[in-house]
């Protein structure tokens, strides 16, 4: 094993049980077997059990930040808990080198009746710090949490943001060699999230290896060069974070489209959007654009009844559900008298201006007040390839039109 590897998981599996009755029964059996010195034979699946994490292997080096993505229930948190030693794997082996700082849930172990100060000491002790270490770091922790005088108030009077900030501040100051973070940053406001991410990046520069479990794909894109994707307990991809996100999206694509359709079809369905097509400037069908290209969106619809004064809107959404831009006939001060039966409209985006990634066009036809949609659809996927150099860390959304005036 080479020197800078700090985490190694080899064929790690974990099984869970669906019914509570079985949990008690199996638990008693396993513990009974262990007591008399027999193996609990954890590698065998019994009635009602399933693999929550199935045969996952990976390695992590010093200073590396690894993202773990996947849909709900794919085993991300379970994997993280095994890496932290809260759960034992039922198969396979995990090797960890160095002190682990884990943020499975911020403020777990906080006692609501006690003051922030008391809780910092308790939480620190639970995370393995001595009183001396906490004394030394105390001011730094309070400064990072940014809660001022509230430090001496019982934490039950804290806002959820303050709670999260204090919890993160303690865990980030444990001086870990490996940091495990599970979707905890979503609690705080934007400012805190940035601060926390920066802290993680800074720790990374100091050689701390971080594993980040999150649903925020843009965070993974921004923070991690490498990511793994879990799906129903299995690891379906391990590699460059962009590649992994794409694999995840491909896997989820069907579900996502269906979901969005369900969401968008809440309209009255009086108008159906039957087809959306994308063309380049030469009116050729196209699905790959450059940032500086223009794009023509052609939309076919079918109105069952006559609809008076509709507003037609188009928008572009990135593959991680980030809305990028939109426009509609109301904003362009165009008044449409009515639409009926089959029809077609076209809009030209003069410059796409987006950076590399996968996008989709959303078309909605509203009533005059734009309160309820007559019909909507999520179609016309396209890819943008920009010249913007991808460093893996920073990834802006737009490439605006600009020129240098002095240099």
């Amino acid at each position: 094993m080479s020197d800078d590897i700090v985490v190694r998981a080899t064929n790690v599996s974990k099984k869970f049980c669906r019914s509570l009755k079985h949990v008690m029964l199996y638990g008693a059996k396993d513990i009974g077997r262990n007591i008399v010195g027999l193996s609990s034979r954890s590698e065998i699946l019994r009635d009602g059990e399933f693999w929550a994490v199935d045969n996952v292997s990976f390695e992590l080096r010093r200073g590396e930040t690894l993202g773990i993505i996947g849909p709900n229930g794919s085993g991300k948190s379970t994997l993280l808990k095994m890496l932290n030693g809260i759960f034992m794997p039922d198969k396979g082996k995990i090797e960890i080198k160095g002190r682990v700082g884990a943020l499975i849930e911020v403020g777990a172990g906080f006692h609501p009746m006690l003051s922030g100060r008391e809780n910092v000491y308790i939480n620190g002790a639970i995370l393995g710090m001595s009183k001396k270490e906490i004394d030394k770091k105390f001011d730094e922790i309070v400064a990072f949490a940014d809660i001022g005088d509230f430090i001496d108030a019982p934490v039950k009077h804290y806002s959820s943001g303050m709670y999260a900030r204090l919890g993160f501040a303690v865990a980030a100051h444990v001086e870990p060699e490996i940091l495990l973070v599970d979707e905890v940053l979503s609690v705080g406001d934007y400012k805190f999230q940035q601060k926390a991410l920066n802290k993680i990046l800074k720790l990374g520069e100091e050689g701390v290896a971080t594993i980040l479990v999150t649903h925020a794909l843009h965070t993974v894109r921004f923070m991690c060069l490498r990511a793994i994707c879990l799906y129903k307990g299995e690891m379906i991809c391990d590699g460059d974070s962009n590649k992994t996100i794409q694999a995840f999206q491909t896997k989820m694509n069907q579900e996502v489209t269906v979901n969005l359709k369900g969401l968008l079809n809440q309209g009255s369905n009086e108008v159906e959007i039957t087809n959306v097509e994308l063309f380049d400037k030469d009116r050729k069908k196209c699905s790959v654009f450059k940032s500086s290209d223009s794009m023509i969106i052609g939309v076919e619809y079918f109105a069952k009844n006559k609809v008076l004064n509709p507003v037609i809107q188009f928008g572009v959404v990135r593959d991680d559900n980030l809305p990028c831009f939109c426009g509609n006939t109301e904003m362009s001060k165009i008044k449409i008298e009515s639409i009926e039966d089959k029809g077609y409209f076209e809009v030209k985006v003069n410059k796409v201006m987006l950076t590399s990634g996968k996008y989709a066009v959303v078309v909605i036809i509203f009533d005059r007040s734009m309160a309820s949609p007559y019909g909507a659809n999520f179609m016309g996927e396209f890819i943008v390839q920009s010249d913007y150099p991808r460093t893996g860390k920073s990834c802006p959304t737009f490439m605006v039109d600009y020129e240098w005036l002095a240099y």
Binding site: G27, I31, I35, S40, N84, G85, I126
Partner: protein
């Protein structure tokens, strides 16, 4: 990867380790948890009395009322407990002071892991510290009751023997017994929540079945049980040492102490072996 720095998680890890290696691991873990045990104890202690008017005095009110009830029952002739040369209140309070270590300790230990719930599932730390810290609550109650007992001794003009100074040492076996059973019951409570209720019920009625507020009966079923019950032997021995300065059944006391220690060691080891199975069952 230097071996000393590497933590390995794999199924049935302890089964592949040697017998003594596991003991070593247990003692190292205990030594490392000192600070955490102290912190958890402080947390439970200050949280418990934070929003209460009477605070720690509850630890004194409780035995006073219990003793009061027994004294009342005794005076009104419902019960007839003869305590030779010691006033009954002194006798009963001393018994309850010894008893609290077992009853309070057992109850606190049993619920320690279940009541820590979310923490156990979300942070990795030695669970043994939760159980030992819970025992701290029994120590607080014990200290308060010792103070109370001293006051009552003075009020009734009873002079304890010189052996009373050995009292903290003499009740040590009860600590080990409570902690040992506590380890086991805390695990059991993790699997079956019924355990917590059961322990509360048991300790309440055991109080009446053991010679705590009355001297051990000489004959009958209760007499035979008390003759062989290590806990009864230790309770009686402790009280006799404080009141009369001698332990008549010294052999019994010794054997009972060894029994308590063995229960403690076995339970501790058991706890260590299966504690990793608990978070996923909570």
């Amino acid at each position: 990867m230097p071996a000393d720095n590497v933590t390995i998680y794999q199924p049935d890890k302890q089964l592949h380790m040697g017998f003594w290696a596991v003991w070593k691991e247990m003692f190292v873990e205990l030594a490392r948890s000192r600070e955490l045990i102290w912190r958890l104890f402080l947390r439970d202690f200050s949280a418990k009395y934070k929003q209460s008017l009477l605070g720690v005095s509850w630890a004194a009110i409780n035995p006073l009322i219990t003793v009061g009830v027994f004294v009342f029952l005794n005076r009104s002739g419902v019960m007839n407990i003869q305590t030779a040369d010691v006033p009954y209140p002194v006798f009963a309070l001393l018994g309850l002071t010894i008893w609290v270590v077992f009853s309070k300790g057992l109850a606190a230990c049993t619920s320690s892991i279940v009541s820590a719930g979310s923490m156990v599932v979300k942070i990795n730390f030695p669970k043994i510290s939760l159980v030992i810290a819970a025992m701290g609550q029994a120590i607080v109650e014990l200290l308060v009751r010792i103070g109370l007992t001293i006051v009552v001794f003075i009020i009734f003009g009873v002079m304890p023997s010189g052996m009373a100074l050995l009292f903290p040492l003499l009740i040590l076996p009860i600590f080990f017994l409570a902690l040992g059973l506590g380890f086991f019951l805390a695990l059991l409570a993790g699997l079956f929540r019924d355990t917590v209720n059961l322990v509360t019920l048991l300790t309440t009625y055991l109080l009446f079945l053991m010679p705590v507020v009355y001297p051990p009966p000489e004959s009958g079923i209760l007499g035979i049980i008390n003759q062989w019950n290590p806990l009864s032997i230790i309770i009686v021995s402790c009280r006799e040492a404080v009141l009369y300065g001698s332990i008549p059944n010294l052999g019994g006391y010794m054997w009972s102490s060894i029994f308590c220690l063995v229960v403690f060691l076995i339970s501790w080891r058991l706890f260590h072996l299966v504690e990793t199975k608990i978070p996923e069952r909570i």
